[in-house]
């Protein structure tokens, strides 16, 4: 085999082939740990809210201008994720504008609004409220997981009902196949310029934001290549029994939790980072609403963003209504009703305060391993499959 064939093979493996959910999950956890070490925990909703707040400011609902999206870390995380996923989609020639039939557009609006509500109550989507909450040793992550399971069950019931009563067709794709590689190279150039601009800026935060942009681009790239989907991991055990994605997600959370445990033990991040006053009601109820909605949307917080980056118009609609609803509801929850100070939706529970760092990790690891074993067993026994 010649050297150029090896080079071609490497390109094929990294940029064209799909990664397995296990590979995706391990790589995702690696970048998530690096991001928390470098700067801050990964999140989605904070950035969406920032974008929503700019719309609210534009129409006069908010009096004060929100932070600049390019200098607000939560927003930069989402920009990185979308750029990374877009580079993955275009270089693999999988990008194209997919316009769904009307029923899907209605579902996108309703699901987007409900995701905005659920993520406001839980102070995060299933990244900030579940994946990263568990990894940051917060009890709220477990509460949201329970809410998600019940919510997803309801969402699956809805999908099966819809299938019996409605049919929709007539969607189209506006293909960009011929220019996809060019789009990919332009996006890569924008990403590299962005990182360079942050690194060479005079601002104190420039270096941190540049690294965050790079790492979240890696996250977006890996998520798109592996089509990493937390909705799938909760939904398929009910719908088909299939558990490959669930095993990938479980492994990913376990590794991320291990890494961030060490980061917090070493004192690199404050212990209470990403431990929100949502235990138990905010996380549980928010998780339930978010779980049902994300099944109908066909993507969670992160899953919606990487699908936006491959041109799924349905998910673009989801993200718009998600961001707007979340920013409006959080305005009332934070500033008008002051629910967090009053503790109406629960308290902030940092598990090591009760069990020590070792005990907290063992508890979380046990829960994740039990989940892994459950979906794996269910794949063969199909005991909990309610699908077609």
């Amino acid at each position: 085999m010649s050297f150029s064939e090896s080079l071609k093979g490497l390109y094929q493996t990294v940029f064209k082939n799909n990664y397995s959910p296990i590979t995706g999950g391990i790589l995702l956890a690696l970048f998530v740990i690096l991001l928390e070490m470098w700067y801050r925990p990964w999140g989605i909703v904070g950035g969406l809210r920032n974008w929503g707040e700019w719309v609210l400011y534009g129409i006069g609902f908010l009096e004060e201008a929100p932070p600049h999206p390019l200098w607000f870390s939560s927003s930069v995380l989402n920009i990185g994720l979308i750029l990374g996923a877009f580079i993955s989609a275009t270089l693999a020639n999988e990008f194209g504008l997919r316009i769904p039939p009307r029923l899907e557009i209605i579902k996108a609006i309703v699901a987007g609004i409900l995701m905005g509500i659920g993520s406001a109550l839980a102070q995060g989507c299933n990244i900030g409220g579940f994946y990263m909450a568990i990894a940051n040793l917060s009890a709220s992550g477990i509460a949201m997981m329970l809410g998600l399971v019940v919510g997803v069950f309801i969402g699956v019931k809805y999908l099966l009902w819809e299938l019996e009563h409605f049919s929709s067709s007539g969607g189209i794709e506006i293909s960009t196949k011929k220019i996809n590689p060019v789009l990919g190279i332009i996006a890569l150039a924008i990403l590299l310029y962005g990182i360079y601009a942050y690194f060479s800026s005079d601002s104190e935060e420039g270096l941190l934001l540049g690294g965050a942009l790079l790492l979240t681009a890696c996250i977006g790239f890996v998520m798109h290549r592996s089509r990493f989907c937390i909705v799938n991991s909760f939904r398929e055990p009910f719908l088909s029994g299939e558990a490959e994605m669930a095993r990938g997600v479980a492994l990913s959370i376990l590794i991320a939790t291990f890494g961030i445990l060490l980061i917090k033990m070493a004192g690199i991040r404050e212990p209470m980072t990403y431990v929100t006053p949502t235990f138990v009601w905010g996380a549980l109820i928010g998780g339930l609403i978010f779980g049902a909605a994300m099944v109908v949307a066909g993507g969670c917080g992160s899953g919606a963003l990487w699908r936006v980056a491959e041109g799924q118009v349905k998910l673009m609609i989801v993200v718009i209504f998600f961001a707007l609803t979340n920013s409006i509801l959080r305005y009332y929850l934070d500033n008008v009703w002051e629910v967090w100070d009053k503790g109406w939706l629960g308290g902030a529970v940092f598990l090591p305060d009760y069990f020590g760092y070792g005990g907290a990790f063992i508890l979380l690891a046990l829960i994740i391993i039990l989940w892994y074993l459950f979906v794996d067993w269910n794949e063969k026994s199909e005991k909990f499959v309610i699908g077609l």
């Binding site: 989609a89 194209g96 997919r98 769904p100 899907e104 049919s167 067709s169 794709e173 699908r307």
Partner: protein, 81 residues
């Protein structure tokens, strides 16, 4: 190997513009309605379908005949055994 371009499907399912999991669910439902030996053609624009449909066929015991890439969508051919 079957020549896909000459296949006359018994049923065509249009999943264009739909995103995960709708193409999968609709395909499964359409296959259940088919008689044995009949062929379903699915039109999908979701990149995930290229993995999901063959995998589902293997799991559920349908024969996946192959796919043809057109501009803007992919045609999948599935035979019910």
């Amino acid at each position: 190997m079957v020549d896909l371009s000459t296949i006359k499907p018994d049923e065509v399912l249009d999943c264009k513009g739909l995103s995960c999991p709708m193409p999968m669910l609709k395909t499964k439902k359409a296959l259940q309605k088919l008689g044995s030996g009949q062929i379903l053609e699915v039109l999908s624009t979701d990149p995930g379908s290229k993995n999901d449909i063959p995998k589902m066929c293997e799991k559920e015991g349908y024969e996946f005949l192959g796919m043809i890439e057109e501009t803007g969508y992919t045609r999948f051919f599935i035979k019910k055994k």
